[in-house]
């Protein structure tokens, strides 16, 4: 890093620590002018821009950073946060997962944050889809009912005597009622009570839904970020109290897949 860039950056860091994010941002910008190829400066500025809700600018900085340093974990984390704020949940999830994978690879302590971010994105994406599905269902209901009413009116127009008209009218009323009942059954107005999520999907340490389960020598699985932060402190198996090291942990691929599949259909389970 050039001396000028370094000076601007250090002053930027100081301002950032004090909570003066706008000033920090402009100092990081000056550092970037002095040294435009330094990837660290872009994540610094992205962080300041995250604090001031400049989502589009965060996205731009993170993309520049990743162009210079493709394996940058922080850039992915910030990018995911900005995309989440922009309600672009598919991309937010993609970058959170990539950031998480980098944490696993490098033993980065931010793994807890990335795990939380993955769950947050999955939940938001599911909520968004649910909303869309409900909206589409109610649009369809309206459309179908309108067609049925049209059909009824056409038929009614062919008759003039009151008795027949009443008969036709009643018949259609019943059909329309049945149709509404079918839609109600498919999309109840009141949410049915949610069951508890399956116990196999819940981490016994954080009590959270698992994102990246790993299995111990005894065959018990935990969320990777939870068990790793415990083993860094005390290298003992939580159940048997036998020696257990982070390097002994293995990914539980099938359980991971089962957790993913379950959340795909039941995004609410993130906040059970």
């Amino acid at each position: 890093m050039t001396d000028a860039a370094k000076r601007f950056r250090e002053e930027g860091n100081r301002r950032f620590q004090k909570g003066d994010y706008n000033m920090a941002e402009s100092l990081y910008s000056q550092a970037i002018i002095a040294d435009p190829k330094n990837h660290v400066l872009y994540t610094n500025r992205a962080m300041a821009r995250l604090k001031t809700n400049q989502w589009e600018n965060v996205v731009a900085d993170c993309r520049t950073c990743l162009g210079l340093d493709p394996d940058n974990m922080k850039a992915r984390y910030y990018l995911s946060q900005a995309q989440y704020a922009l309600q672009d949940y598919d991309d937010a999830l993609k970058h959170a997962l990539e950031g998480h994978a980098l944490c696993v690879k490098n033993g980065d302590k931010s793994m807890q944050n990335l795990t939380d971010q993955v769950l947050k994105c999955k939940k938001a994406r599911w909520d968004q889809r649910e909303k869309k599905r409900k909206r589409e269902a109610s649009d369809l209901e309206r459309e179908v009912i309108r067609l049925l009413e049209q059909e009824r009116d056409t038929e009614l127009a062919e008759y003039t005597d009151e008795g027949t008209r009443k008969e036709i009218s009643d018949e259609w009323e019943q059909k329309i009622g049945s149709m509404r009942a079918v839609f109600d059954k498919a999309n109840p107005q009141k949410e049915p009570p949610r069951p508890d999520p399956p116990a196999w999907a819940i981490d016994d340490i954080s009590f959270n839904f698992m994102v990246d389960p790993v299995i111990t020598k005894t065959g018990k699985s935990y969320e990777r970020s939870s068990i790793e932060s415990y083993l860094r402190r005390v290298p003992l198996d939580p159940l048997t109290r036998e020696p257990l090291f982070i390097t002994d942990l293995r990914p539980n691929i099938d359980l991971k897949k089962a957790c993913e599949d379950y959340l795909e259909e039941n995004g609410w389970a993130v906040d059970y």
């Binding site: 807890q112 009590f207 939870s226 005390v234 003992l236 939580p238």
Partner: protein, 155 residues
Amino acid sequence: MAGTFATKRLGKELAKIHESLPPGIELVSADNFEEWFLDIRVLDSNPLYLNQIYRLKFKFSAQYPIEPPEVVFVKLADRPIPIHPHIYSNGIICLDLLGQQGWSPVQNVQSICMSLQSMLTGNSKNERPAGDEDFVRGNRLRPKDINFYYHDNDV
């Protein structure tokens, strides 16, 4: 101030506690995710603890359950400190599962209460730990930072 990791997990523990607790354990208060109070009593007729209720104070750090909670007995007019060779008269408990090394993150508030219940139930000695007076007078350490010597874990 407890962090989100601790907060989330304690929130879920509390929801379960509100649903049901094993006999002899009652929640007194859990107004925040830093300090909870629970009452326990033994379920058998051990004469040392007969008809007595004891008050426990739990303190959680932001790292809970990676780090153990701090658990002590609290003395009130109707809540004495139970007599036990591993419980000091100021309420500090000498139990390996509450220490930095003995703690496991799969333990929880309820399981701690149950361990303490059985620790009392299984005791027949009407005595305090050795050096209780000196310890109570001189100790300035937080319970979890004390390196107890677990000399007789079968008590």
